[in-house]
Amino acid sequence: MAGINGGGFLLAVLSKLAADEIKEWLPKLSSLIVRVAALRLPPHERDRYQEEWEADLLEYPGGIVRTMRALGFIVAAQRMQVDGMATRFGLCWNTAYLAFQTVRVMLWMELVIARVHLSKATRGRISAPEHVNVAEWTNSGRKRWPTVLKTVASLPLFLFRVTLNL
């Protein structure tokens, strides 16, 4: 019984410490989220919205509410990007949204594929013959070049993304 009480007490103390820690970090997290959201906007609008959104957050009490509202700014930034894209290319909003999401999915697929190739290259999944030095094998062009080529092949998509400011 004493053990349970001791365990319960320890758990309570740890919970309190964790809660205090989270309480301390939430404002910083909200501020970070606002900065990330503002970074998704065109460069000339970033400073304005960062300040505006930080002022907005201060109007709400409580770290969790502020964090939730800060997350909403990421959604806002994304919608504003779609608006910008629709205006720039003369598209209707739904078409611009579809194009935006398609490019985002393509980008993430490219990143995942690049990561898988990188992982294969660094881990040396292709087993080296016994008479070959493993270090030499890993550094050989046979593994390095496909990764380099795939990275180069993914560059147009990155440039497309930068052009659209996605």
Binding site: Y49, W53, D56, E59, A70, A76, M80
Partner: protein
């Protein structure tokens, strides 16, 4: 950069309604959000859209952020064009809704 005319939806009407009833004072995004209940992810794109098509003007509140120890709010106000366009949008909606009610 000018957009012809923003889409008129339920949330946009809520924002316009709040701005019309507080046309004298500049309204911060948080004020509009509290009054209309719109989330930040919905509200700010609407404000940006209205601003780009010239229905809204925005300006920083007169405050020194360093002295005040907090960032400045951005205050939104309807332009003359925005006010007339908003009233037109509301009258269109009311005529439509009125028609539906009358049909019943």
């Amino acid at each position: 950069m000018a957009i012809n005319s923003p889409r008129i939806t339920g949330p946009t009407l809520q924002v316009l309604g709040h701005l019309i009833s507080n046309a004298q004072d500049g309204q911060a995004g948080s004020d509009i959000s509290k009054s209309t209940g719109l989330a930040s992810g919905t509200l700010y794109p609407i404000l940006a859209r209205f601003e780009k098509c010239g229905w809204l003007l925005s300006e920083w509140e007169a405050l020194d952020p360093v002295a005040a120890g907090r960032p400045r709010k951005r205050l939104y106000r309807l332009t003359a064009n925005g006010l007339s366009q908003s009233k037109k949008a509301f009258s269109n909606v009311y005529s439509l809704v009125g028609g539906l009610v009358w049909q019943e």
